[in-house]
Symmetry: C2
Subunit: 314 residues, 2 copies
Amino acid sequence: MPDTEFVERLLSGDPRSIARAITLIENGGEGSAALMKAVYLKTGRAEVIGITGSPGAGKSSLVDKLALLYKNNGDRVGIICVDPSSPFSGGAILGDRIRMATLGLDKNVFIRSMATRGNLGGMARSTVDAVAILDAAGYNKIIVETVGVGQDEVEIVKTADVSVVVLVPGMGDDIQAIKAGIMEIGDVFVINKADREGVLRTQKELESLLALAHRPDMWNSPIVKTVATENKGIEDLQNAIGEYYAFQSGEAGGSNARRRSIARWRLLELLQERLLADLLDSDGTREKLDELAGEVAEKKTDPYTAIEQLIAKK
Amino acid sequence: MPDTEFVERLLSGDPRSIARAITLIENGGEGSAALMKAVYLKTGRAEVIGITGSPGAGKSSLVDKLALLYKNNGDRVGIICVDPSSPFSGGAILGDRIRMATLGLDKNVFIRSMATRGNLGGMARSTVDAVAILDAAGYNKIIVETVGVGQDEVEIVKTADVSVVVLVPGMGDDIQAIKAGIMEIGDVFVINKADREGVLRTQKELESLLALAHRPDMWNSPIVKTVATENKGIEDLQNAIGEYYAFQSGEAGGSNARRRSIARWRLLELLQERLLADLLDSDGTREKLDELAGEVAEKKTDPYTAIEQLIAKK
């Protein structure tokens, strides 16, 4: 069990305890499971906003401005910035400090970057756990910002209550590249840098793509134009997010089915992680794994036969 | 065991058997393990080139032009296009047909898109298996093109012999957004659409980032400028790829250590997938999972306690 005092400080919103808790869940293992058991039932009050889009779309500025607006409205805002392409937590921490300075260093804003830990994924799981920690600690608006646009990012953004997809004008190629997978998850679309040329064209293209998209919940995803660096359109974005949140929390939204499917996905992620950890923790398995990796590399055996040996050993 | 005749046709390079084999490994399970055991020891002759970069950078055109150049040199070229953000294999197949028409419908070029299967990852594993199938089937240049720029894509590109990162000019933001994680994996950098404004600035920025990067293998990643749509710079790219391949295959490259670490990563991926499948296949586990997902969604229990129940049940 984690230290009761630590959990209490965490639940009261103490930033240092929150930071420590997130590091704990990033590292995984026993400690993190015990911690999550202690805080999980305190979660469920926060509104979680996922923000994704192409690199260079200006997501960070947009998130900062939105967070500032929420903060000025009296909300407590948590920001989780997911950057799976960066193996460096050092860089992330520096970036966090710069952003903290912009947003104001007080108890009502918490910002944290999460970088890749090792090669085994788990990024989606640790992000969801970090959101739960901020939720339990009393942050009522939690923004999850992703840097990449791959499969993990889509999974992460899907677990939010409201998903925002950010585009920039003048990139016809880009909309196509963003593809149906990302288009489908957008509850709200933003065209940022809307003072640039080509806004109208991007908007038309987006509208025609959205007209083709089929949403089971009958929501028409709005398109909001912003210039984040000049603080333009941020209130419109806030309103669009609020409207979707109200819509999906209502009768029509079926948010219970959504919560259930998120819970199922999360259990599967956790199971994978735990089953592998249990296997590797058994005596001599890591050594055997290294030995078999060598044999596979030299083509003395194939990977499928190798894993059967590892599983049989257990 | 898979049908011996099928495996023989596959090894002789029959496109229909290859397509069937890739579908089999995408679906996973028993059949795919038996197939991979049958072909794995025939692999290891191909040169594998991974190509990644921002959406909209023109990767597909670049890959098509490079493939055509290889083909005209007498190589047999396989292309695997990884698009984790697209849940639709239908769209992928249509795209493949259009590209096949450009590249020429013959035995010396094989192209296949791979889309997301379900929510449980496995994309990296199935891509690596598809590369092994093409390798065993006698394709000597295999290009793996990724659409996204997330963690999975980085993992996939890392398993190639040569990793190419594609940028476009005039996107100062973008280089920053691409971050160290992607920068580090680039053995060769391409500035595509090099007839656009801002090439020089992008090149300078890239050069200064590369000057900071530390490569344990002492390779200086070259920067190649291309205009893929006009077939410009493609030979330079081919030469740069060839030089890195020769370098890393040589004494200095330590490619044995690299193969070993890829094998290790691959065993871990496969283990995760297999352990979860074994658990879910045991009687009543799926029903119990659905039931627990409901309880977690309603906050009657927490996810960590839930998975312990599932594991104990086994």
